[in-house]
């Protein structure tokens, strides 16, 4: 049976891609951020997961507000990036996993999750930056990725209780998949930040650290927040915490924190890197 063996939270901001493209990892600004990653890379290289389920939001590459899905997921064997408006060179395609993707889609739509199901989906920095952080030099072609895209751009948005439930449903779907494969879940984005308005630049370090703590041991507490609570506490774009909350929902077993690196600011954001292991109860 398929198993979710762990999960990672990570930032996905485009500035990271620029820093990596320009070799700035060891500069004073970036070092405290990038120094967090080697233990997570090592863990991934040791565990060699077959599939990554990656929660992200699309920042206006594939989806526009002409037709904006609350939840979209890919079911393709390949995904492409393309110009997001800044003329940055596009990167190699991302490998998909259509069989498990359709299995998840079948399972969670039956459970009442009203997914938009995509056989073609351009993926933006929200998905590609985390992959490149884990396998630098875009060396992630061997890993199969299932993109799950959560609307964080336009209200109404799914509330934290709902994104957590989405995660749980995906966790159950993976657990019912018959192939013996290992899955790791990425929750990307956030944490506290506000890009727009006179309140731009808002960061709430204490709130972020509290969220990371709760993600480990008390995720239900996070589901009590509304998106408006997240905006109040974490800034306008802190709704991206929904991706971390969805990630946590997929972990149905015993969860152990293996690594953490909180650093702020990176660009305008608080960045929370965390590695969680998930141990499913052994069937007797």
């Amino acid at each position: 049976m398929a198993k979710i063996i762990g999960a990672v939270t990570t930032s996905h901001i485009p500035a990271i891609a620029n820093a990596m493209a320009n070799g700035l990892e060891e500069t004073p600004y970036w070092k405290p951020f990038f120094d967090g990653y080697p233990p997570v890379r090592d863990w991934l290289n040791e565990k060699k997961p077959d599939v990554i389920i990656l929660f992200y939001n699309d920042h206006g590459l594939e989806f526009f507000i002409d037709k904006k899905p609350t939840f979209a997921m890919g079911v393709a064997d390949e995904y492409y990036n393309s110009d997001e408006g800044w003329g940055i060179p596009t990167i190699p395609p991302v490998t998909g996993e259509s069989d498990l993707s359709w299995h998840i889609a079948n399972s969670i739509v039956d459970e009442g999750f009203d997914m938009t199901i995509c056989q073609e989906m351009k993926v933006d920095h929200g998905l590609t930056v985390p992959l490149n952080l884990m396998w630098p030099g875009h060396q992630y072609g061997h890993v199969k990725v299932i993109p799950v895209c959560i609307n964080c751009e336009q209200y109404p948005m799914a509330q934290p209780w709902r994104t957590f439930e989405l995660g749980r449903a995906i966790g159950r779907a993976v657990a019912s998949y018959e192939e013996d494969i290992n899955v790791v879940v990425f929750g990307t984005g956030g944490m506290s930040h506000q890009l727009d308005g006179e309140r731009a630049g808002f960061i709430n370090r204490a709130f972020d650290i509290d969220c990371l703590d709760k993600l480990v041991s008390n995720p239900e507490a996070l589901t009590k927040y509304s998106n408006m609570d997240l905006v109040e506490q974490g800034g306008a774009q802190a709704v991206e915490l929904n991706m971390l909350i969805a990630m946590r929902g997929t972990l149905l077993g015993k969860v152990t924190e293996r690594h953490r690196n909180y650093h702020a600011p990176i660009s305008n954001t608080g960045s929370g890197l965390m590695l969680l292991e998930n141990e499913m109860p052994t069937a007797e």
Binding site: Q154, D196, R205, V231, N268
Partner: protein, 120 residues
């Protein structure tokens, strides 16, 4: 006029809800088009004509002319699509932060550092 998503207000924050999404539809659609180099070139060649093509209101055109980010937000712009406009202007997120808060980019960065250390 479309319904507000919520009654809650946050100082200096423009929630992009249905009301704004409707008001800013053409503006955001123009910004979304900037994913393509051809569109960026067309805008740069003749900004007024390009704005007209997406039926921007006079207030939106004025804010585009003045690179007035707060004005664009007020007129229904979403930061996610506006970022493609400011990218075209070669402004990064700290430049925009400065513009919106009335600081220089360096002052804005210093504020981010303070906020990041939790000195608030």
């Amino acid at each position: 006029m479309a319904s507000n998503y919520t009654d809650r207000k946050f100082q200096g924050t423009y929630l992009f809800d249905g009301q704004m999404a409707k008001k800013g539809y053409g503006l955001n659609k123009m910004c979304y088009s900037f994913n393509d180099q051809i569109a960026r070139d067309a805008f740069n060649a003749d900004p007024e004509a390009y704005c007209e093509k997406f039926k921007l209101t006079e207030a939106q055109k004025e804010a585009i002319r003045n690179k007035d980010v707060i004005g664009l937000l007020r007129e229904g712009g979403s930061i996610y699509y506006l970022a493609k406009f400011t990218g075209l202007l070669k402004l990064n997120m700290q430049d925009i932060g400065g513009l919106q808060t009335g600081m220089s980019t360096d002052e804005f960065k210093a504020m981010l550092e303070r906020n990041g250390r939790g000195e608030v």
